[in-house]
């Protein structure tokens, strides 16, 4: 009897629950606001400087396209590594953002162009006149079969030699890094003096910074043309040849002047700090280091340019601009392709790049930005950007597909552990090129 009562009670309770739920169910399940006026932009710009730059560019976007809602889908962590994993998952699930950040060059081409995830941007480049304000040597590096596939927003320089003038003069180095390091041997001669004075010549950080060093030593050894020749299909510079051997020898020598605890450093900053602290004389790092040196605390060390630190082009690379760039793409599966074009137009525009770059600490990809907005270093770099030979960075995704640059990175790290194995290292580089399919 009682059990029957209980179940009846339960029954009526549930019926009521069903009625209530079905009454409010549809109300709660309002469909997503699928306004066509929305643009979801995916990036890994969340850190100081870069997030501010993005916000400044979004502000310009909002003024120019008030009808389009900007959705910031930035993913934090790992200098983009986490973001790329998230993006790959979203693309696999056919849930592409309306545009996403990608390193300009082969990283974009191999990862997104070859699988057909993004569309060419010839029309946008022509209609906005963007192609006319870019350095001529840049376009081939961001294009596939003559079609550009991404809008470079900013340009960073990889081949910068940062140095501590006080350490140099204390060690009796008279050579001026801005003009006198025409070859790596000139640089190594200065290193000998610094070593004799009991300081580290070249500070090095986390494992990836060794790859960064490798590319700049290689360019400094073989020059721009032969460096570019390493990445053409098929390569015109022989990976097994004497040029690469000479570059490897110089790389080994450069490593011998570095600090022994490099691999335990968490990133590039501790190595750069060693230089400004006076423990080391030189540091080869991209120009994002400028913000770290010069910006006020807490994001920078608030140091004085030319006094506490100074800069030159990496040894042997005078007249060469080794670049990397963040760029945005037009996805094949964009949900709001018109809004994406609006976003890319702002990203390519003078106003957009002038808003973004001073805050990010990079220079405009355009050559016509108002230089008064920029730091002294950036003005320097911008002059070189318009006049130098532009070559692409290996570490930062311009010249090689991710799979290839990852295996080169592995070979470099193995070599770093034992720099006597030069032949093994070169053989590993040849094998990596073959595995990529670029070498026969």
């Amino acid at each position: 009897m009682s059990s029957k009562k209980v179940s009846w009670g339960l029954f009526s309770l549930l019926i009521v629950a069903i009625l209530v739920l079905s009454a409010c169910g549809p109300a709660a399940k309002t469909p997503v606001a699928t306004k066509s006026t929305e643009v979801e932009v995916f990036s890994w710009w969340v850190g100081p400087g870069e997030a501010d730059g993005l916000a400044a560019m979004v502000k310009i976007f909002n003024t120019e396209y008030p009808g389009v809602k900007f959705v910031n889908a930035a993913v934090t962590g790992g200098a983009g590594t986490n973001a790329k994993a998230v993006l790959a998952t979203r693309l696999a699930a056919n849930d592409a953002p309306d545009s996403w950040q990608a390193h300009a060059g082969q990283e974009t081409i191999a990862t997104y162009v070859t699988p057909g995830q993004v569309k060419p941007l010839d029309d946008l480049f022509a209609s906005t006149g963007f192609d006319k304000v870019l350095p001529k040597t840049l376009l081939p590096l961001i294009s596939q079969n003559g079609h550009p596939y991404s809008v470079p927003v900013n340009i960073h320089r990889s081949n910068v030699l940062w140095y501590n003038p006080k350490v140099l003069s204390a060690a009796g180095v008279t050579a001026n890094p801005k003009t006198d390091f025409k070859t790596l041997d000139d640089f190594f001669a200065a290193c000998e003096k610094i070593k004799a004075a009991g300081k580290i010549c070249l500070s090095l950080g986390a494992p990836w910074t060794a790859i960064h060093l490798f590319e700049n030593i290689m360019i400094g050894t073989i020059g721009a043309d032969k460096w570019n020749g390493m990445w053409t299909t098929p390569p015109t510079t022989d990976w097994a040849g004497a040029d690469v051997t000479a570059g490897i020898a110089n790389f080994a020598k450069a490593l011998s002047y570095t600090n022994s605890d490099a691999s335990t450093m968490s990133d590039w900053q501790p190595a750069s700090k060693m230089m400004v602290d006076g423990d080391a004389a030189f540091n080869i790092m991209g120009d994002w280091a400028y913000g770290y040196f010069a910006n006020p605390a807490p994001n920078g060390l608030a140091l004085k340019p030319h006094v506490d630190f100074d800069w030159a082009v990496a040894p042997g690379t005078y007249g060469i601009f080794n670049f990397l760039s963040d760029s945005f793409v037009l996805p094949t599966g964009a949900k709001h392709p018109d809004a994406t074009i609006d976003w890319l137009t702002v990203a390519a525009s003078k106003a957009g790049q002038e808003a973004f770059n001073p805050l990010k600490g990079s220079i405009c990809a355009r050559t016509d930005c108002n230089q008064a907005l920029f730091s002294e270093y950036s003005q320097d770099a911008a002059k070189d950007w318009t006049s130098n030979v532009v070559v692409g960075s290996l570490m930062h995704g311009v010249v090689a597909a991710p799979a290839w640059s990852t295996s080169i990175g592995t070979a470099i790290s193995l070599f770093q552990a034992d720099t006597s194995k030069t032949a093994d290292f070169q053989a590993a580089l040849v094998a990596a090129c073959k595995a990529d399919g670029t070498c026969k």
Binding site: S7, W8, L10, F11, L14, I15, I18, L21, S22, G25, P26, A28, K29, T30, P31, V32, A33, T81, K84, A85, A88, L91, A92, A110, T111, Y112, T114, P115, G116, Q117, A206, P207, W208, N259, S260, D261, S263, T264, M265, S266, D267, M274, D277, D279, P402, A403, T406, S407, T410, S413, L414, Q416, A417, A428, A431
Partner: protein, 358 residues
């Protein structure tokens, strides 16, 4: 099974109503995603709707008056979930590892064991991974067992404040490997000269200059050996708890009997307690072993992907997500699974046998 089916109309109607409700919700959600406060809750709503539907199913099943049927019905959802999300994805990873998938678009072209052969044949990095895993696993398990047993025996002496010590020894286990790695990375900083810091600074201050070490950036295999220190620090307390439980379960009568027969305290441990702790040691080896074979976070935090401290987990991450070589990454993952399976499966099989005997 269907011998006794007792139809109770009210429950039956309720069940039908629940099932219908679940179905209607799912069908509604298919076309109308559920968004509350800018959060897309569709998948959660589908799950809840599925549960409502399944509750209806369970009510009907319960009318069969058979415990076996009800048991199966209750277990079915989790069995299906495990089948899909564990075994299904293992199967899928195996398939990927036998393919040539490189880049964003899946390419399931069957290439046999090519990825595995490439790893073992001419991949110096994978050889380093195997060596490092072996060094780490052996050192980590031995370290935890010896230290854990030692601590357990010390605590077994019924000293005052035992609970406090037990707490102190167990605390490191509650810290994540990432945090352990970062902190020990600071402690084991190998910098010298005026940048000296961490334990090396303590040694310098104490005048023990000969003890100043390069720590985990020492030449291999010693560098890898140093990574064992934080791991043992973190898990020896846990091993101690396992052993202490084992020691305490040895009956006092047994010890008393041994004492009466003239055994010393040492002999009691050597001949009575240690042999009785064998099953504890076995479970500890399994638990610690499967952790160290899959180790990733601790090493990443300590070594910043330094190749000399590379382990298969890091190589898999780099290959898959930095190199977008999904087939090769899957192959590394499957090899890790096999290495853990070699350790765990015999244990599970043995467990199942003893359970059926009981």
């Amino acid at each position: 099974m269907l011998r006794r089916f007792e139809l109770r109309l009210p429950q039956f109607l309720l069940a039908i109503a629940l099932m219908l409700m679940g179905l209607v919700f799912i069908l509604t959600l298919r076309s109308n995603p559920l968004v509350i406060a800018d959060k897309n809750l569709t998948s959660l709503a589908v799950l809840v709707s599925g549960l409502i539907f399944y509750t209806g199913v369970l009510i009907i099943v319960s009318m069969f008056q058979s415990e076996t049927v009800l048991t199966i019905a209750l277990l079915l959802p989790s069995m299906v979930a495990v089948a899909i999300f564990v075994y299904g994805f293992i199967g899928w990873s195996v398939r990927v590892s036998l393919s040539q998938w490189k880049g964003l678009n899946p390419d399931y072209t069957f290439v046999g064991l090519k990825q595995y052969i490439a790893l073992f044949n001419n991949d110096p990095r994978f050889i380093i991974d195997i060596r490092n895993t072996v060094v780490f696993t052996v050192g980590f398990i031995l370290g935890c067992l010896i230290l854990g047993l030692g601590l357990a025996i010390l605590l077994d002496q019924r000293l005052k404040g035992e609970a406090i010590f037990r707490g102190i020894f167990l605390v490191p286990m509650s810290i994540s490997f990432i945090a352990t790695g970062v902190i020990w990375g600071w402690l084991m900083n190998p910098a010298t000269g005026n940048r000296i810091t961490g334990i090396n600074l303590i040694f310098q201050t104490l005048g023990l200059k000969s003890l100043i070490s390069l720590w985990h950036s020492s030449p291999q295999p010693w560098g890898m050996v140093f990574t064992i220190i934080p791991a043992v620090w973190q898990l020896s307390g846990y091993t101690m708890a396992l052993y202490l439980g084992g020691i305490r379960s040895v009956s006092e009568d047994l010890r008393e009997a041994a004492r009466v027969d003239g055994a010393s305290e040492f002999e009691i441990y050597r001949y009575i307690i240690l042999p009785l702790l064998q099953p504890v040691t076995l479970s500890a080896v399994i638990i610690l072993g499967h952790m160290s074979l899959k180790i990733f976070d601790l090493i990443v935090a300590l070594g910043n992907k330094d190749i000399r401290l590379d382990v298969p987990g890091i190589y898999m991450w780099v290959t898959t997500f930095d190199g977008t070589n999904y087939a090769r990454g899957a192959a590394i993952g499957i090899l890790m699974l096999i290495s853990v399976a070699i350790l765990v499966v015999p244990y599970l099989v043995q467990n199942m046998r003893t359970e059926t005997e009981l």
